[in-house]
Each structure stands twice: as structure tokens, then as C-alpha cells.
Assembly symmetry: D2
Homo-oligomer: 379 residues x 4
Amino acid sequence: MLHFDSDYMEGAHPAIIERLAQTNFDQTPGYGTDPVCESARARICYACQTPDAAVHFLVGGTQANAAVIDQLLNPWEGVIAADTGHINGHEAGAVEACGHKILQIPHRNGKLDAQDVRAFCQAWAEGESREHVVAPGVVYISQATEYGTLYTLGELQALRAVCDEFDMRLFIDGARLGYALAALEGQLTLPQLAEVADAFYIGGTKVGALFGEAVVFTKPELAGHFFTLMKKHGALLAKGRMLGLQFDVLFEDAEERDGNPAARADASQRNADVSQHGADTAGSPLVEAARTRYLACGRHAVKLARKLAEGFEGAGYELAIDSPTNQQFVAIDDRTCERLREHATFEVWERRADGKLVVRFVTSWATRPEAVDELLALL
Amino acid sequence: MLHFDSDYMEGAHPAIIERLAQTNFDQTPGYGTDPVCESARARICYACQTPDAAVHFLVGGTQANAAVIDQLLNPWEGVIAADTGHINGHEAGAVEACGHKILQIPHRNGKLDAQDVRAFCQAWAEGESREHVVAPGVVYISQATEYGTLYTLGELQALRAVCDEFDMRLFIDGARLGYALAALEGQLTLPQLAEVADAFYIGGTKVGALFGEAVVFTKPELAGHFFTLMKKHGALLAKGRMLGLQFDVLFEDAEERDGNPAARADASQRNADVSQHGADTAGSPLVEAARTRYLACGRHAVKLARKLAEGFEGAGYELAIDSPTNQQFVAIDDRTCERLREHATFEVWERRADGKLVVRFVTSWATRPEAVDELLALL
Amino acid sequence: MLHFDSDYMEGAHPAIIERLAQTNFDQTPGYGTDPVCESARARICYACQTPDAAVHFLVGGTQANAAVIDQLLNPWEGVIAADTGHINGHEAGAVEACGHKILQIPHRNGKLDAQDVRAFCQAWAEGESREHVVAPGVVYISQATEYGTLYTLGELQALRAVCDEFDMRLFIDGARLGYALAALEGQLTLPQLAEVADAFYIGGTKVGALFGEAVVFTKPELAGHFFTLMKKHGALLAKGRMLGLQFDVLFEDAEERDGNPAARADASQRNADVSQHGADTAGSPLVEAARTRYLACGRHAVKLARKLAEGFEGAGYELAIDSPTNQQFVAIDDRTCERLREHATFEVWERRADGKLVVRFVTSWATRPEAVDELLALL
Amino acid sequence: MLHFDSDYMEGAHPAIIERLAQTNFDQTPGYGTDPVCESARARICYACQTPDAAVHFLVGGTQANAAVIDQLLNPWEGVIAADTGHINGHEAGAVEACGHKILQIPHRNGKLDAQDVRAFCQAWAEGESREHVVAPGVVYISQATEYGTLYTLGELQALRAVCDEFDMRLFIDGARLGYALAALEGQLTLPQLAEVADAFYIGGTKVGALFGEAVVFTKPELAGHFFTLMKKHGALLAKGRMLGLQFDVLFEDAEERDGNPAARADASQRNADVSQHGADTAGSPLVEAARTRYLACGRHAVKLARKLAEGFEGAGYELAIDSPTNQQFVAIDDRTCERLREHATFEVWERRADGKLVVRFVTSWATRPEAVDELLALL
């Protein structure tokens, strides 16, 4: 049986398992205050070119979303999201559980359009009963989105501008950020994404880790007391080292992996350079960030997803959504669905008005190329 | 440097790391719906002699406490706890974050006394303004307590009786349950504990796992929709298999480990027998539960903790709390504290009225016997 | 200056002020436990033909909505509402403040369509990730709606059927119930409305009272501990008698007012009759309910609103929404708006796609007929 | 039957009822944005000598407490209160319902001792796990307390100093402030109380109003968006004028009442003077504040309470608490209790260790002097 249900079916990148085994009996203090987490933070700050960012590690996406949004909102504010946003439709009310309203705006291909957000905020600002309703305080988007679609740099900057206009913070859910960055290589870098966001997270659970999301507050003044808030949310891992370890491995770069640790030198030292000389969002750091295991994981899945998409198209199938990432949506009829289900697992996304089923095939950092070949051979 | 800060400084039992590595590329569905979790659930149900219990795996103690209490309380009810209870003093308001009040009762050696609970409930029930105040709905205790002390079977039964009298549920925080069971061997078994509780959890984080707490609702009707509530709390792990795997390893029994898997046969089958013939809370299952890795982990730490305690006493030091578990509290003067700190890490618990410092030494499933010897040699 | 901004600009029905003055120095216990509240409850139960209903008095609509929804929902459930529902757009997140999600469905003329609700619930029930999302637990509607539109008896019954099908409770926000009942006289009675709802409230604030909403749980078993929950919500009035007094006055019937108190006899006695012989939803009680001051208040406003609407139409203006109640929505151009504003206050509702402004004129139980004449004379 | 149960058994000061009747058909905008509320705010600001304070009117004490504390706390903070504080024991968990923890400190005669608060905060600030626990953010006290006791000016200043030391805000629950000010005349003025507090409220419900508490944020920057938060709490009264009207009447001064409205001139103008020349916390404003109906209400009750206390003492009874305010606590035996109950209603507070019952007699602004005489005649 072939499995394309999701990108969290396997364990972790073997280098993570190896490091876990090697360091198993090390003794470190808890809650992410250990040197391994420090090292991972330094690597992440450098990869983002945000030397002063506050980086916190959480176990999963829903808790990261709820805790960060709780941190960024005032009690009279709510969070704007696409109606298809993960926090709105797939997290069992975790944001509302903290007492915050989600202000829904209809999506466009899974994305929030900056003009729609501006119109929403303007209507609020000019409304006669403005003080009687929830004020927009945070804009939440996912990169990649729940539909596998992507925000371009220009689209992100347009959202940033609306946020500045209405004094809102921009938070990017990066549960699948690795796949987004891989799909947008040459068009959007991690430092560029970090520059537009007030906070975002680098998803590990779906991109090479056993679990874990690295939340980056690019403006550390927005992260005050987030440690305590994580605890309040039940989102502070006792053996925090396990989270740091995974991101430390995922953000090692290629030369280091090739046995030349000096090549990377010390990330902390490099961050100091960035602090002094400013971020280099177009130059060498990008090249290096691109050499991390994290991006390598992303590339692997995206490459196989595209092969899979081309295979379906080549066999005469229609792609229901134009997704450049590791999620592919194909329109098929019921009989095909049944036939494929005998050999493969995948998710039925929805039934379209024309009666066809939209089904989703997901590749991951761990997908075997042969599995894609075997699937395509079934068509 | 020797480390006695806490019982979550190391990784996991080597058998867990080994199993992680072996099964890393297995593909399973998410959120604990996989066969590995099923197997772990069956083993736990059998070890507890509660074949029909609902077992859920969560990542950490604070989230387990908050989610279970939220599940068990009605909106007009609160949870009774000792003022020293972990939910009251060490979880950053996680219970209140769900809108629930903690009804504090002064502790006795870290424990709730059944008579004190009865008096509290009676005062509430007879109060003129009974409808104006939070009704007691759940009693929360920790076994072992935050002071390393233990409830005897009789004390647990007395609390159970008060709960029945006032229509409350009894919830036991078992973050250190492995150490409690080891310390109480011959006096309290897991099935006996399960019998008095409406819900409890078997702590993995501090007893052999990388992370993870197995919540057991002994009355499954109290666990309705807990899966959704876990998600709402951000407490549902995507790669749920990682939790199941750890408890599956920890609840393997000795014969199985000795290479005779048939010896344990299938836990599900055994549970069926229990369902049919009733639990055997005094017989063979206990023996077998006692043969699990989980209890072995507990025994190791307790044995070393006692050695440590005897060493301190032998050297003329005073034990500040009479703790039979893996936490030992010693009263020392400032100079001794300073001197020991040069060679060992440990927590300063409080300063006593007589000016002495109470410091805490914690052993774990992973503590090296030599480390205890080296510490005692410093006295 | 003429005022048509809202239906809460004036004080209260003079009979209420009179009773307040007469009974000002009476001494009664607090929190609604007094005989005046008892009398009001009996009158309301009789008017609804629900002798066993649990009736609670709250001060305002937002707190009534939040408290009742909090009472009716389980923690894993949410409340279905039209996107235009008052709880969704005009209450500053009061429902979310209790940790509950609002499940929005696009409105049809301000109303929820039973088929839309069924489709929503079916999609949820059949969804692959059903357990990962908020379960629908309550359906919230307003009668009259925020658009001044009305549910027919048939539409209410259709919603009731969907609620039964999916095990949901039906809650009706009756902030403007008096105007709805007046507009639907001959088509929908209070007992009929009570029969379809699990809970609803009879709005006083906008219909003759200084303040106050009478929440009716037609199934008292759903109201368990609501008194305590009211307190938790800060919604329990210390001098509860002031609420009971107002509803007691509003639900006096005509004969009683005409100086024949025996005509009404004792509402409690009549409730006992209903308990024994069943509700008479088509017969005399309706007549009597129709003779209350509450309905008289409603009729007054509806009559004037219709006159106002006819006046606008007669003068060639377009009614933007077909509203049979005390809110009238007229489409006008900017110049007319400016001109009218010199003589009258009213709310600008929205700007239509065709550039016209939709403005709202609201009449109340206290509107002077001359004021309507003067407004129409301006056209 | 005589009634000494509480201070909220009667209606309102007759001048309020009169004004209600006179202005009943006035039309004003809602939610406290009307001129009547403006006038009341100006009077209150002047009486407090805080010309720039933000004043909001809420209906009741529990909602005022919860909303203000929610406003003043950050999400990682909690509120310090005496264990006997009203928010802790008598409000059904309303503060916790907003997700905030109450940090309890044992009371001393119903009061918080500044040294106790300092010790608590110091322990927190120096604690090893400081970031794992709720940070103290607000100190809550009641003046008068739940035991009828009072804070002196010196005690309030000591608490203020602790708040400044640990960056906390001081919030005073003034449900019975009128009685406190009356009892402390010559020792503590309203401007002095306003000077030490960040926020407090002037209780109307128990001191002459039908309902209503005037929340005063002496530092208006702490009140940002409180209007919206009130709505979120369901604490925004639609016909806000009814609240303003009551406080406008209660804060009229004696000359104005004597038919010389010019004597008071315009409170707004006077506030402007204060803004320019500074508050005069020792001079004439105090005299004038002392001439308000609010203080007159307070004086009436306190005078009768003292007469009542003296009567009990004179008859050989023991006062269980030394209360200078309108609540008197007397220790009596069961037989006396039973005997008095035949003629009077009052609350049984608690049974003392010596077997005696402590019962509470409460006077109010509306208590008839004859009622006290009749009660004393029973002794």
C-alpha cells in the first residue's frame, strides 16, 4: 500500500535520530534553557538574518498558533484570517478557547488578499459602532496555505503595508514553510519572509522533525513573557532540549555536514556580524540558508510532488488547484477513486459542483521516489 | 559536575531510542489513531486491569492537567487542590486559562486530607450563598506529591469516599507515578490506584520517556469528545505514534524483553479476559505490571534516592521532609550549600524559619549509581 | 430634532415608573429570589404556556446571549449563527470570551435557512476530520432579526427539525421579540415560539422596560445551575426585584389593568391548570397573552413603523429591505441624507453597490405619532 | 418583620426615582454617550479631584470587578487578593472566567497587609521558577472590606508603595465606598483615595442607587478600549443614561439641592480649574464632596449601625468584629439567634470555635431609625 495521506506519517530525518541516540544521556536543564536550544536559536536567527529575534520552540502547530495569537492580541482585539485558514476550520476552536474572535475574510485560492483586508479594516475603522465590535489586531496567514498555494514576496509586502496602516501585527503560520521556501526558491528567501512578519514559525513536524515548531518573533519586544504564556498554554516542553536538538540538526548547513564544521563557524558570531553590519537579504546568507537540511527536506518533497502532478496531467487528469508545493489536488471520478484506493491512501478533499471528487496527494521529506513511480503506474 | 536538579535532564530509556530508530520510516496515520498507540493502550489497560478505560496520550503534564480538568468540570464548578498542588503553584494559571477556579485547601505534607476536603465541601453545601460560589466538582491530587510524599491506599479510598459523597470526580496527577508505585511496592498497585480514580495519568516525561503522559479515564463515559478537547487545548500530537511507541516500550514486560514475546501474548486478548472474568487486583496481573520497564525505571530511581538519603543522614544531615520517593529534601546551611554547588547542581527549595536552606536532590531512571557515590563522598 | 436612531432612547413604560415609585421602600431579598420576581415568572410561564419553564432575568442582551450559550454548549461544541447574527458582529466577542466558537453561515435576509444549517451539519458529520473541529451544539437565531425580518412558524419548525436531527439546542434571541410578535399577530404566538425553542428571551430593554431580558428555558433540565453561571458572567443583578417588577408590569393583562385584577386571577394557579390539562396553543391563553402591555408596546411601534414605511414609499423612496417590524431601511442618496439629518437622527446602515445609502429608521413603544408625521412631512 | 440582611433590599434614593419619572421620555443615544452621563462623569471627576480620569458606569459589582481586572492584567499576570476578598469567595469564579488567576494572601481582619503583599512579591521575584508561575500584576482590595473593616490612609499608601515597587496596579472595590467614606470622615477623603488607586469604583447598588457602579480609572491611559471590553463582558448597558442619571443625582451637592444650582456651577468648568491649578486634596472640594447625596446616604447608615452596635454591647453582647461601618457582626448563642429570627432577618456569618454564632446586621441608606430601635428593644 502506498501512502500519500499527509506529511506527518513518518518519523524524522535520520540525522535527528542519530543525534538523539548519541546525546541521549547528556544532562541539561529543562524548558529550552539548555545550550542545544541556544545553538539552534543562533542558527535560526542567522538563517533569518534577524540576529535579535526571540526564538521559542513549541511542540505543535495548533498550540503555536493559539499561544502566539494570544501573545500578540489585546483583549479587545481579534485575529483576521481567511475563512479557510487552519485556525478557523481545523483547530477545534483553540483560538476562541483563549477568548479571542477570528475575523473571517473569504479566501482567494486559500490566500488572504491585501485589498480585502484593507476593505475590512476600513469598514471597521469607519463604522458607527466601531467601539462595539472586535478590533482587528493581528493578520494570520499560512505559507504555504491549506490549499498548497503560496504568497509571493509582493503579496506579503502588500499585507505588511495594510498591517502598518491599521496598526496590526502580521503572523505567518509556517507549518509547511520548508515546502513553501523550496517551491519559491529564487523568488522568496527566509530573510525576506522574516522581514515582513512580526512573528512566524518554522514548521518542523511536517518538514523533517519528529515534532516541533520554531516560533520567531522578529521584534523581540513583542515576545515579552512569552515563556510564561507558553506554560499557561501547556505548551512548554519539559525536556526542551529535544526541540532544540531537532532544529539544530535541521539548520546545519551542507559544509558542516560534509565534515567541515569550521565552514559554518559559530552562528552566534555571525549573528553579531549581522547586528553590526545589517542583514544581507540578497547575498551569501541566503546561499547558506539554502544549504540547510531543512531546505533540502523541502526540495525533496516539492520535486516529487511536481513529478506526481505532471504524471497525473500527462495521464489526462485535471489538477483541481494550481499548487506548486507538496500538496497536489486532483479531480477524479468516483470509480477512479475507488480503484486507486485499493493501492494507495490519500484524502478526499471535497466533492465539486460537477460531481467530481477532489482528492489530495501529499509528499514529504521522506517520500520514496519509487512510491511516486508506483502511484503513477496505476493511472 | 553532578546533576540532581530534576528527573527530566536526560533523554529516554535506550529501548525507546532503539525502537524509534528501527521504525523511523514506518508510515502511520496521525493523532494517535495508529496501531502502535493501540498496542500501547491495550498494554496500559491490562496493567491497570481496566479493560474498557479510555486512554489518551498527551505530551506534557501541564497540558494533561488542564485538558483533563476542563473535561471533567461543568462550567459552574471548580477543582479542589492542595495549595501546594502543581496546578496551583507551578503551571502559570493553565487551569484558570480555561475559565476554572482552583479551590485551595492547605496541604498536609504536600497531601490533601480527606477530612479537610469533607469539611470544605460541607461548608459549601450548607452555605447560605452556595449558589453564588464555585461548586466543587473535581478533586485533584498528585501521586507522588510535589513534596515527594505518598498517599496510602487507605488515604486514596478516603478521598474517593468524599468524592462519592459530594458527587465529585477524583483526578490523580501521575507525573511521578512510576516513582510512587516503586516506593509503595507491596502496598499499592496500579490496578488499585485505577480503581479509586475517575481519571489519572501515567507520567512518562519524568519516568523513562522523552516526553508523554498517558491519561487513563477509568470510566470511559467521562471521556466523551476528549479527542476534540485535546485539539482545542493544542494538546493533540500530529505524529501521535511517537507517544504510543514510548508507552508501548515502557509497558513491555520482562519476559517479552527476554526474547519471549509469546509470554505476554496479546494485551487485547488479555483485556477481553479481564472484561469477562473481572479484574484481578491482587493476583498475577500485578506481578506482570511489576515486570514492566516503567516500574523498573521507577525502582532504579527510588533505590538511589534512598541510598542518597541514608548517606546524608549518615553524615549527620537532617532530612527536611520524610520522602520515600526520588526527591530528597535536605536541610543544610549556606556554607555547605555553596560548597556542594561547586560540584553538583540541585534546587534550593526554600529557606526555613531556623535559617537553614532546604535543598532538593532528585534521582531519575537514568541516574548513574556512581553519581550518588560521588555526591556522598563530598559530605 | 426627531430621533429614530434606535428603540432604546427613552426610559420605560409609565406603569413601570409608577410601580417603581410605589414600591421603592419595600424590602426584599436579592438576586431575583423575591415574590415580585416570582409573580413575573408565573405570568411569563403562563403567557408562554410553559408552566414548568425556568425563567431568569438578566440586565441586557449581550450578557443574556453569552450566558445562555455558555450554559447550553459543551466545551467541544460551538454555536451556529447567521454571519449577520448579533452575537457574531455586534457583541465585541462576548461568546468567544467564554471560549466558544461561532460557526457562521451566510444569512438570507438576515435569517438562517434550515437547509443551509442541515447542509453545514451534514458536512461536519461526514467530514473526515470531524473530531478535529468544533461540533455544532446550538443554533442561534434572532426574532426579529438584525435586518428587521421575521421567521415564520414554518421556518422555525424547520430549524427545530434540524436541531433534533443533529442533537442541537435552539436558542432564540428575542431582544425585539415584542415587535416580532406584534408584526406576526395571527401567524405566530408566544406559546408557539416557546414550543420550538429550547431557550429564548423576551427582550425588555427595547420593548418598554428600562432594561432587562427574561430568559426562558422551556426545558428546565437545561437550566441546571444557571443561577451560578449568571453570577460567573457578572450577570446576576443584586436588586433582582427591579427586573421582576418590570416584567410583572409588562405582562399584566388588559382586564387587570382595567381595574379587575380577579380577571387574571393568579398566574400560578393557571400554570397549574396548564400542567394538568396541557398547553392550549391555539385558544384563550393566546388571547390573553395578546392583552399584555408587552404586546401593546410592540403593536404601537410596528404600527408607526408601517406608517413610516408607507410614507417613504408614497413619496417615491425605495425600501431597501422588506421589513415588517419596527426597523425600516430606506435607500436614499447622499443629498437627501444630509437634508434629513438637519431635522432627524437615524443610523446609516451601509452604502449599496449602486451608490445609495441604506439608512435605518427605528420606532419604539414610546415613539410619538406626531414624530412620524413630522418626519414624513420632510420628504 | 425587621430586615437587616443586606444593604440592597430597598429601591433607590427618592430623588433618583423622581428624576427617572421626570425625564422618562427624554431621548438620548445609548451606551453612556449621552449628556446625563457626561454630567455625572464631570461631577465624579470633580469630587475625586481627578479632572482627567476615565469614568465608566457598570451595572453591578461582580461585572465591574471582572472587567476592570481583565483590563488591568496582562495575560501572564494574576491579581493579588485577600483570601476573604469578594472576587475570591463570592463571585462564582468571574475573574477566573476571564482566564486570570487570583493569588490569595491570608487576610488580617479582612484586609491585605502591605508587608504580606511585599513578602509574596519578593518570593515571586526571587523564585527560581519565577517564569513558570503567574506574575502579580494587580492588587485588589475592598474599601470597606467584606468584614466591614477599613483601610486607613496610611495603609493605602503602604499598599501603593508595594505596587510601585513591583510594577503592579492598585484596584479598589468600592461596592461599599460610601459607608467607608462616611465612617472615615476627617481621616480619608475621596480625593485621597483616588490618589493612591489606579482604578476604583464608587458603589451605587448598595449606597442609594437602584443599581450601578462608577468605575474611575485615575490614569486614563490604563482605560484604553475599556468601552469595548465592557461590551465583551456583557457589561455595557444599552440605556446607559439610567446609570448616569443615578450618579448625577447622588453627586449633586447640598446647595444645589437647596435650590441654588449656580452654587455648584458647572462641574466641567471646575474640573478645568483643577487641571490648571492642581488638585486640592485638603481644601474646599472635600467639603463639597462631603455635601453630596452619596455621602449623606453613607452617613445615615453608619450612624444607625453604630447605634445598633452600641445597643448590642450595652445589652451585654459581644461584637465579633470591630467594624466601624454599616455591617455589624455580633456573637450570639443559638437560642438568641432563634428568638431574634422570629422578628428580624439577618445573615448567619459563621460558627466560631467557641460554639457561638457570628451573625451580621446590615444597615443601609434606607434603614428606618425606628427599625433599629425595635431591634434593640428585642434584646
